[in-house]
Subunit: 115 residues, 2 copies
């Protein structure tokens, strides 16, 4: 009976059960994504330090092939996995470029302009 | 020395280390996303059975507020979390609509057209 009390009125119990699982999964996704961006933030700083470009087509092709294979093993649509990687990479490359720009501006302020 | 041997030639060791972590994180993300789509697939079938619309603005608003809060707690950009939810929902709603259409077509084939 306590389960009934915790459920919003008028929601199908099976739908409510599935939504609770989806909410748990989303919490996991957000926390794992937070760790991914911590790692890519470090990559961005390292690339700026080494003067490497924000994007790396060879690395991205390797990631793409791997994501598609992982998706097939996990019974996830490989086309969705591909879209997901593109979505993440767009965000990451934007961050990398912002880091590189910050570094370049710091150099100008320090009296050592790039040009 | 064995670490040097396992590393692709010319890649900075710190960059290689970060990329190995990102690859592990991506494998986790793909597997968790696969479970999310299994759950939303069940939601889609249930909604089609109950004659519910594919999208639910009240549920989506609740999810959005929750994702932003989870993101803040996890030190992830809440704006990115919002974009991520929109990305997932677009895919899920497309699946729900496909399921509802399949069901409607099955009904026509069974000799019980909707109209």
């Amino acid at each position: 009976m306590s389960e009934t009390a915790a459920r919003p009125a008028g929601i199908d119990p099976e739908l409510a059960r599935l939504r609770r699982s989806i909410d748990n999964i989303d919490a996991a996704l957000i926390h794992v994504l937070a760790e991914r961006f911590k790692a890519t933030q470090q990559v961005g700083m390292l690339k700026a330090e080494l003067g490497m470009p924000a994007s790396d087509p060879v690395r991205e092709a390797t990631q793409l092939a791997r994501m598609r294979e992982l998706a097939r093993d996990a019974e996830l649509d490989p086309v969705f996995a591909e879209k997901f990687l593109a979505f993440l990479l767009a965000e990451v490359i934007q961050h990398h470029e912002a880091i590189a720009l910050d570094r370049a501006q710091d150099r100008v302020v320090d009296g050592a302009p790039l040009a």
